[in-house]
């Protein structure tokens, strides 16, 4: 037996395993080593490379056939519109020589045409000339019903696009258009080449896989390789009109998740820029503290707000609850009283923004939070919480607690509200703190939350949709586009959702003010300029001050850049990569 044991030992000194393990260790060691050999290697010309991480990989470079932000942004590195919008909401010419206005004659007085003039001598990235005819073609391509173009709404109201000569693009609208900068503006509406895509219009767009994956551009970089749902590679465009771009190569890498994208920029330094970092604020702050990079935030128009039901949602009313009924069904205590104002005063918006939204939130007092020139300053008082003031306001109005249960009464009716939103941890935490603050001013709150697919789902048979609004208060995020007209139009009396229109319409809080409607009609007829800005601010103030909506948090999109990357100016109104041609590395 002892012999047997001995034999076993000597036979199995595990040579194979040892060898294999040794090989693995050697492999790992060789992996670690190049860190030194890299620097010691004879000076090969260093390739200046920019690595951009999008954790959602791009499916196609360009916004037309696949309208996701990732696709639009992958296209935006090379495709260009006539003009971009900068982070302040100001138009910046790209392919156009200047921004057309009424003053310089580019926009007609009747608001029916806008005439863009292209810069001289523009070339596509293959060296062929780029002309106004390419803009005409892009319009034909995108508006062809069988193309299935995701950017078709940028051509809303456009009846024709013409090119009287090689550098002039004339866009004609069907009616007076106060904000004519929709077609060919922003990364959602870039221009593509007729020579390249001429055969790809309509149903044929699907079959043009080769062209779709390698569009010619006019930007500072041009596409050299596109791997679907993975990585796009660009090089400096030799035919670019301006200063040659800084980087030799741009890598637009997709896939993975937001947290590891943040780590790659802020901790390992493998990437220079990471997009849309939906990561817990505390984790991001820890990563940023390592000092390798910086968190940056793009704000556009998204405002997390409370909507105050102007109609009576009492269950006892049956089908008539939350129905406007021509104004005969007002809310028992939220309309015509200072209650909504007191509720707004009791909220500490900074606490919510800082603790629950972190980098991605700022306290806000307006429902039109941007662009800058449209933002009212009349409501900024809301930035400071004022519970005493709210209590005093209610006391003065005679809304007091008569039966000593801690809840105030109005005409004998206790101020008890039901407050709904979608199921989401940040929203539930917001609900909880607001409930507490409202309790301090004698308002009782019942919290409800519904699954997002139900709440935003719009099923007319479900009682829990935001459109039906069968509670007193509800909370969600929305906001206008760069020109707020369409958003503001929704708050007119005619857009109140009700049974008769199957709850279609954007006046969700069911507020009706004839004066608002009148002012809105003026807005529709007022071209871009100071007068339009004044009107937008007034409309915003009317809505907020009437207590129809209580703005809470201005929500942004979080990104990260490495410290050495210069020129990044993160943009909420256009693609984040709108000025990628100006990015450079600090030497």
């Amino acid at each position: 037996m002892s012999d047997m044991k001995k034999l076993t030992r000597s036979t199995f000194r595990a040579p194979v395993v040892v060898l294999l393990l040794a090989a693995m260790v050697a492999l790992l060691a060789s992996c670690a080593a190049p860190a030194e050999t890299d620097t010691a290697a004879p000076a090969e010309p260093e390739v200046k490379e920019l690595t951009i991480l999008y954790w959602q990989a791009a499916s196609l470079p360009g916004p037309f056939l696949s309208g996701g932000t990732k696709d639009q942004d992958a296209g935006a590195v090379t495709l260009e519109p006539l003009a971009s919008v900068d982070p302040d909401g100001v138009l910046v010419p790209r392919l156009a020589a200047a921004i057309p206005t009424i003053e310089n004659g580019g926009v007609s007085e009747d608001g029916l045409t806008i005439t863009w003039t292209l810069q001289e001598g523009l070339l596509w990235s293959d060296g062929t000339p780029m002309t106004a005819d390419d803009a005409v073609f892009t319009w034909e391509y995108c508006t062809h019903p069988e193309t299935g173009c995701a950017s078709v709404d940028t051509y809303d109201g456009v009846v024709s696009v013409e090119a009287p000569d090689d550098t002039t693009v004339v866009v004609t609208f069907d009616k007076f258009t106060p904000y004519p900068y929709t077609a060919f503006v922003t990364a959602q509406s870039p221009i593509i080449s007729r020579t390249q895509f001429g055969e790809c219009v309509g149903a044929a767009a699907q079959a043009c896989s080769e062209q779709n994956l390698a569009p010619l551009g006019t930007g500072a970089y041009r596409l050299t390789d596109f791997k679907v749902n993975d990585v796009a590679t660009y090089e400096r465009n030799p035919h670019y009109r301006g200063e040659p771009a800084y980087f030799d190569r741009v890598i637009f890498k997709g896939g993975g998740d937001a947290a590891s994208a943040a780590r790659a920029v802020l901790e390992t330094g493998e990437a220079d820029y990471a997009w849309n970092l939906q990561v817990e604020p505390q984790i991001l702050a820890e990563m940023e503290a390592k000092g390798q990079g910086e968190i940056i935030v793009a704000f556009d128009s998204l405002v997390e707000r409370l909507l105050v039901n102007q109609t009576n949602p009492d269950e006892a009313l049956g089908d008539d609850r939350s129905e406007y009924l021509d104004g005969t069904n007002p809310h028992p205590f939220l309309v015509g009283t200072p209650v909504a104002q007191a509720m707004s005063m009791a909220i500490d918006r900074s606490v919510i923004a800082e603790n629950l939204y972190g980098f991605a939130g700022q306290p806000v007092c307006n429902v039109i939070p941007g662009p800058k020139h449209y933002v009212s300053t009349a409501n900024d008082g809301c930035l400071v919480q004022d519970i005493d003031g709210a209590n005093a306001l209610l006391d003065e109005a005679g809304i007091v607690d008569t039966d000593g249960d801690g809840v105030r009464e109005y005409n004998g009716m206790p101020l008890s509200v039901r407050y709904q939103t979608s199921t989401n941890s940040v929203r539930q935490k917001t609900q909880a703190v607001i409930k507490q603050w409202w309790a301090e001013i004698g308002i009782e709150t019942e919290l409800l939350n519904h699954d997002a697919s139900v709440f935003f789902g719009g099923d007319p048979n479900s009682p829990d949709t935001y459109q039906k609004f069968y509670t007193d208060i509800q909370m969600y995020t929305t906001g206008p586009s760069i020109d707020p007209q369409i958003h503001l139009s929704q708050w007119q009396c005619q857009y109140i959702p009700e049974r008769a229109n199957s709850w279609a319409g954007g006046n969700i809080f069911r507020g009706c003010d004839p004066e608002y409607d009148e002012l809105f009609q003026m807005l529709v007829e007022t071209p871009v300029g100071p007068e339009r800005e004044r009107l937008v601010k007034t409309l915003n103030d009317m809505n907020v001050q009437a207590g129809m909506q209580i703005p809470l948090v201005y929500r942004g999109r979080v990104a990260a850049r490495t410290n050495s990357l210069q020129g990044v100016w993160i943009n909420g109104w256009d693609t984040e990569l709108w000025n990628v041609g100006d990015w450079a590395r600090e030497e």
Partner: protein
Amino acid sequence: MSRYLARRLLTAVPTLLAISMVIFAVLDLAPGDPTGALPETIRPEVRQMIREAMGLDKPMHIKYLLWLRQFFWNEPIGLLESALGIEIGDSESRLRITSWGSRGTPVFDLIAQRVPQTLWVVGLAYLISVLIAVPVGVISAVRQYSVFDQLGTLFSLIGYSVPTFFTGLLLIIVFSVNLNWLPSIYDTNLEVRDWRSLVAQLRQMAMPVTVLAFFQTAALVRFTRSSMLDNLTQDYVRTVKAKGFRERYVVIRHILRNSLIPVITLVALGVPTIFSGAIITEQIFRVNGLGALLISSIQVNDIPMIQTVTFIFAVLIVIFNLIADIIYGVLDPRIRYA
């Protein structure tokens, strides 16, 4: 044997047809809309136009028959054409299966783009795990309850029970964040041309391969060990030992050969999982393999892609089941097919 093979191949046809129908029906009936991933600012009418352009509004049986025709007729002919450089019939109008997520891009082009990465990373991990697991399992069994066996058991239990997303993250934090030795992002543009790029390739493969190999080795070690233990106590082993053969000879020529039969079957059955990729590991390290392709298609409801990739996996599973059965017959003389 050939009759058996023919019968198995014939029964595979209805099996695969049934599988394809089930996959298609499930995907078609499942809620979800490929335009759902588009920004909310895109209006419903525009979404409808996009859906029509994708051919989404056709009835299910038409879509299914069209897909069958594309998969079994159009794609093979296209392959033949490009392989031989000839043109068969009207190749211009022959529709290929195209992706919805990346509109118009042929699904098979994307799959072909992804296969090499999967083979490199997942395939290599599989190979390494077999190479490690078999000797470790054999030694563990022969020297049962020794320190080596105890350690082997410990590591294989850890490997088996710790999920890959955890080991992956752990390796990234240690080797990328703290030590800064290895890249955490897989560079899919890298082409191996010289020593330098080979080293770069090895460096970027090191972590995903280790994670996967660790996990797979664990399962295989346990299996090899128990299969060896079953054989160690058999009568024939005692007989051979009684004849006075050396231990090494007994183990390698007799015990190992017999105990490897079920192990080889298991390894063959596991080959399709190489192709289905390691979804989580590929996602963590941003390896653009088939698993990552599948997951990104699922995220955007790219049904033609999901359908095709899933079906290819089904085909591979059926084929490798057959191969495993045949190998079994070859290795074990007691089993004969007729």
